[in-house]
Symmetry: C2
Subunit: 204 residues, 2 copies
């Protein structure tokens, strides 16, 4: 019985992820989610509450999976960016979900603001210890790194897998990833580090 | 008479810009646009067609203004990125408009695909002439440059003016801009260029 309900919950969350990624929060329809999950619509209200709360649950699970798959590493921002890239390739709808949230729920949640502060503090420490170039403010280091990691999924529109629905050929994928990792290395590596500007991206 | 109609058209396009930026294509309401413009709703259909066509007209005008304000310069990608940054600061809702388009109309229009090809070709020429580091593929140079230029408006969510609705203090704005310009310099400047990794961003 407990197992059944957790299986149903998981199916509802999967279906809700797909629905929100496709249509956003306002555009999502709870009946379509219930139908796709093969569950009674009433169960959504029982388990999660209203549509907004269902979105919160979907987002929370997606972010928890993201943090687990790609822990933050101030010590190795190029590698971190590469692993974000991999995670977005493996979860092609994730960037859409996050983007709807930016548009329909602008502003950071408390958890997001806290995570942002923790990351910038870790960057500041790494800068003080000489492991990240201290030229930029820690917040700029963080935001520019994330922008590079997500570049092909946010900017490229019709040129990327997110835009076209067609996966990249492996060689092209590897080329984009290597450029992202190397670019983060160039903007974060301390001066005098011989890896700056060299193509050592395959190690990250 | 002609002047009246072009003034009304302009008011409708301004109101439509604000409506689409706030609610997206599916969420926008034609009656709210007419009301905000102080015009008869029927005129929208007369001048522009249906809601989708009105969105096309808004987008076309926004992109034309963007190209005029920030012409592409393969010769000077750091400066180009800085001017994109300025344009996004000056038009705080523009990134939202573009982002709704990515989500609700994924895939490139013919005009977008053509502009993308022209830009990557210009980057390839600049790489061949030794004015841009040839390490990355031209498409990666372009997409990573755009990602850095837009980083504070796409990624930062609640931490940026787009997310919070609160403009940055001038000093913080200047700091973010300088980091963006310098980061683009680091990933595009040819090897041996003494400006790489130096803070020369105020000149761009």
């Amino acid at each position: 019985m407990a197992r059944d309900s957790s299986a149903t919950k998981a199916r509802l969350l999967d279906a809700a992820f797909a629905e929100f990624a496709a249509y956003g929060i306002a555009g999502a329809r709870v009946d379509r989610i219930a139908e796709a999950a093969g569950a009674n619509k009433r169960l959504i209200y029982v388990y999660f509450g209203n549509k907004d709360q269902l979105f919160d649950a979907v987002m929370e699970r997606a972010l928890a999976l993201g943090v687990e798959a790609v822990p933050f590493e101030a010590e190795n921002l190029p590698g971190y960016a590469g692993r974000i890239f991999d995670h977005l390739v493996a979860h092609p709808d994730l960037m859409r979900l996050i983007t709807w949230k930016h548009l329909e729920r602008p502003g950071a949640t408390d958890a997001e603001a806290q995570s942002y502060r923790a990351k910038t503090q870790a960057v500041a420490v790494a800068q003080r210890d000489g492991r990240i170039d201290p030229e930029y403010d820690p917040a700029d280091v963080l935001i520019l790194t994330l922008a590079l990691a997500q570049a092909w999924f946010t900017i490229a529109g019709g040129m990327s897998p997110t835009g076209t629905g067609t996966p990249w050929p492996p060689q092209q994928l590897a080329r984009h990833r290597a450029a992202v990792v190397d670019a983060v290395r160039r903007i974060t590596a301390p001066r005098g580090d011989s890896a700056v500007g060299r193509s050592a991206s395959s190690q990250a």
